[in-house]
């Protein structure tokens, strides 16, 4: 890490597994990541890579069956294994969340003002009236027109994009240090997406919030992130500044993602990262091997015999976990994009 | 478990694996196994009760009225006319099951086609839901009161009254499952291929709606058994001297001071039967649930 100041959020060797009816599922394996103040980090990977589980584990929001090990420090305070009451003070106040489905993530029987105000009443001990007034300001902040009327609307009276703005207003109500946005634009139209991303960027600029944005849309990453983490089967396989990653993907999986996505740097729209043949494995335990080996064109004995470590692969702050990183390898799509 | 061999044809091979999965889940659920065994036993006893019962149901013995349970020759005692309680309970349970099956058959014969039509043809939906509202306005007891006034009280009329009152429930579950199935690809594909509505309903929708119909039937039978008991207790169902658990309780109420135990056994049998059906119905519903994680 070359960030000057101490990171706001420091994730070290985070692992999560779930005991299930059919055996243990290892969802996250040894993830490490730092989030500096005011930084936007993108996290990409196909469905089932462990992105959401990583995100939910930060504030202890996983179901109680989850086994979490490793360390998550927020401004130095350990959150893994912290008491529920301590975690409740972190949730919504220091680490706030935005989820994928704005349609279902808001409570249908409460007005949006009430739902935003609720955070303030809990964490800032505001009165209901003061919380409502603040909710109007927050709605204006996230770009909702005639907020004074909208505050008394129920979720079903708003469009998808509006609801996601409400979710954002709710998330930033207490001025959190970290905003975790789990696929915030996946369920929205492309034009609406751009607006939501703009709001997130604004908030980072104005409030200095660090943002962890999760997506499987490389266009979103290119649009908003400062740095990128690529996840595969529960592991971080590559991490780099955004330009560097797009220009010089090192891990074979990243390279596959980039060539599967037609025009990086633009909105990839609804294109999903499914063009790489094969599926993300659901693992019972973490093997001592590269978990991408079954789908990798460059896989060999070494890849199947030992897990590649995350190592510096040149450039500033660019690491990848691959025994045979791509050396040249701008993909055809990138070639076309130059 | 012969009921489960009804083909469930989501699509060819998938149906076989699905059926085995459902059966496996049922076998692994101890409550399902126990309730199934109880029901199977009850079924066998009910079928064979005319031969199994130690006494004829109307064989009176005025020398030994109100014999307490455990009396030699009368395991569960005798009633006000000296009739053997055990024999009467066995035949009463048989009548209960008869009414249960008859009522549910009535509700399915009328309710399933209406549910299919309501879910499949938009134009029929409004008409059928008015019909449902109308039926709901006459609770089974009121229906039975009306039927008894017009046609007299009997086992058959009790079963019909209960069955009619259960039609709305059948319509509701079949309708919503039809709506769900109609939107699935394989049904849409059949429609595109030019299959007639009746063909689609009979070949694609009905077979796949079997599981919700089965679950509905499993919960409707115990309700009908309880309904029969109520009606017979009130004198609106099975008529004495024919044995019925409900009429036995009515008699027991009259003589409760002399023979309080007589009020216990018939009730326990009614509850046992209903409980076994309800437990099995729950287990069946869980086993059929594709999410599979809800008990």
């Amino acid at each position: 890490m070359t960030t000057a100041s101490a990171p706001v959020l420091e994730i070290r060797d985070l692992s999560v597994s779930f005991p299930t009816e059919t055996g243990t599922v290892s969802a996250v394996d040894g993830v490490s990541l730092d989030l500096a103040a005011g930084e936007i980090v993108g996290m990409v990977g196909e469905s089932g890579c462990g992105k959401s589980v990583t995100a939910m584990s930060l504030a202890g929001l996983l179901p109680s069956s989850a086994r979490v090990t490793g360390s998550v420090r927020l401004d130095g305070t350990q959150l893994v294994g912290a008491r529920e009451s301590a975690l409740r003070r972190v949730r919504g106040r220091e680490i706030a969340y935005i989820f994928q489905e704005p349609m279902t993530s808001l409570n249908p029987v409460l007005t949006v003002g009430r739902q935003i105000g609720e955070v303030l009443q809990v964490h800032e001990r505001m009165s209901r009236r003061a919380a409502r007034a603040r909710a109007v300001e927050l709605l204006t902040l996230v770009g909702i027109p005639s907020a004074a009327q909208r505050v008394d609307n129920y979720p079903h009276q708003l469009s998808g994009g509006m609801r996601q703005r409400v979710m954002i207003a709710m998330a930033v109500a207490c001025g959190p240090k970290v905003l975790v946005a789990d696929e915030p634009t996946t369920a929205l139209d492309v034009t609406v997406q751009a607006g939501i991303l703009q709001v997130l960027r604004d908030l980072r600029d104005r409030l200095g919030t660090s943002v962890l944005i999760i997506t499987h849309d490389l266009g979103v990453i290119a649009d908003i992130a400062d740095r990128v983490v690529v996840m595969y089967a529960g592991r971080v396989v590559e991490r780099a500044p955004v330009d560097d990653l797009f220009a010089h993907p090192r891990h074979r999986y990243t390279a596959g993602l980039l060539s599967a996505s037609p025009q990086p740097g633009r909105h990839a729209g609804t294109d999903r990262l499914t063009e790489i043949p094969g599926l993300v494995p659901v693992l019972a335990s973490q093997p001592d091997a590269c978990t991408f080996a079954d789908r990798c064109p460059a896989a060999d004995e070494q890849c199947r015999a030992a897990a590649p470590p995350l190592e510096d692969v040149g450039g500033t702050d660019h690491v990848a976990a691959c025994w045979h990183p791509c050396i040249t390898a701008p993909t055809a799509a990138q070639e076309a994009n130059r | 478990m012969t009921v489960l061999t009804v083909p469930m044809a989501e699509t060819g091979t998938a149906s076989i694996t699905r059926r085995t999965r459902v059966l496996r889940r049922l076998r692994r659920n101890p409550l399902a196994v126990v309730s199934f065994v109880v029901l199977a036993l009850a079924g066998v006893i009910a079928l064979l009760s005319p031969w199994l019962a130690p006494y004829s149901v109307d064989q009176t013995d005025f020398a030994r009225t109100f014999a307490p349970p455990g009396t030699a020759g009368h395991l569960l005692g005798t009633d006000d006319l000296g009739r053997d309680v055990l024999s009467r309970i066995m035949l009463g349970a048989r009548a209960s099951l008869q009414v249960g099956l008859l009522a549910v058959a009535t509700s399915l014969v009328i309710g399933v086609p209406l549910g299919l039509a309501a879910g499949y043809f938009r134009a029929w939906d409004a008409v059928i839901s008015r019909f449902t509202d109308l039926l709901l306005a006459f609770p089974f007891l009121i229906m039975a009161v009306g039927l008894a006034a017009i046609r007299g009280a009997s086992l058959g009329n009790a079963a019909v009254a209960i069955g009619i009152a259960q039609i709305p429930g059948v319509i509701r579950v079949v309708r919503s499952d039809t709506l769900r199935l109609k939107s699935l690809d394989f049904v849409a594909a059949a429609v595109v291929d030019g299959a007639s509505d009746l063909w689609v309903l009979a070949r694609h929708i009905l077979p796949n709606a079997t599981s919700v119909i089965l679950v509905q039937a499993t919960v409707a039978i115990p309700a009908a058994i309880l309904g029969e008991a109520v009606l017979s207790f009130l004198g609106l169902g099975i008529q004495p001297p024919a044995p019925s658990l409900g009429t036995m309780l009515a008699t027991a109420q009259q003589f409760a001071a002399r023979a309080p135990w007589a009020a216990v056994f018939p009730g326990v049998v009614i509850m046992g039967l209903a409980l076994a059906f309800n437990v099995f119905g729950d287990a069946l519903r869980d086993a059929l649930d594709p999410k599979g994680d809800r008990r």
Partner: protein, 318 residues
Amino acid sequence: MARYLLTRAWQSALTLLLSTIVVFVGVRALPGDPALALAGEDRSPEALEAIRRHYGLDQPLPVQFAQYVERMAQGDFGVSIRTGTPVSSMLTTALPVTVELSVLAILIAAALGVGAGVLAAVRRGRPAEWLANGLALIGLSVPHFWLGLLAILYLSVATGLFPASGFVPILEDPVDNLHHIVLPAVILGTGLAAIIMRQTRSAMLDSLSSDYVRTAKAKGLRPRAVITRHALRNSLIVVVTVVGLQLGGLISGAVVTEQIFGLPGFGKMTIDAVFQRDYPVIQAVVLLTAAAYIVINFFVDLLYSVIDPRIRVTGDPA
């Protein structure tokens, strides 16, 4: 909202009309001469002729139906064959008993059922859930008239804790009234409680795993606030619907319960009427039950639209 209510009102009115037709036709389907059935003790030809004229039995059917509706709307249900008193005055003495019994039973059932349902959903997989589930299954399977019988035998007769039968009007002596009605109400409430419990539990499990509950947790709310303000509020929409659908069962249950506890209500009046072939009373009972069911359900719909803003504000049922 206005549109939704208008639609529901129109549907209710239609159902009411249809059920009146059903009863009207049912009365014609009674065995024998309707005049004879309505005549009571005095069956002289003159009396029968008077009855035919009074009830318009000599008119064409549509006219008869119109007159019938008019009479019913005025509360003229005829005269009891057995007692000679107007059916309407029998109803005014019987109804309060039944209404009190039913309301009390619903309150008990809702408190028990919602409480146990929430508990079972929140304590998923723990002993509390098994206990609540087991009790609900038993409550669903036990014939509650039998429970009533046992309660009289082992609670009233044996201990004298409660009166075994009889009724004291609430205005006469409220305490004694409650003393007489609480046991029947509990017995009647248990079956309904089981149904409410199961629906509450399943609705709560749905909302507890919903996205908006995840949001509520991520906001840092206390579990109690998550459960009551977010999960339960949404589940109640389902629960209210279920209670509405159970009204028919409640009416049936009240009849039996009154019969067992000797409460002089609607139910007892009905059963007596069936055995005495008191057709005017039976007819009034059937018609009034249907009307009550329809009207109450309309109010349940109103309540539903108060709880669910998706209906209240835009008129689209969820």
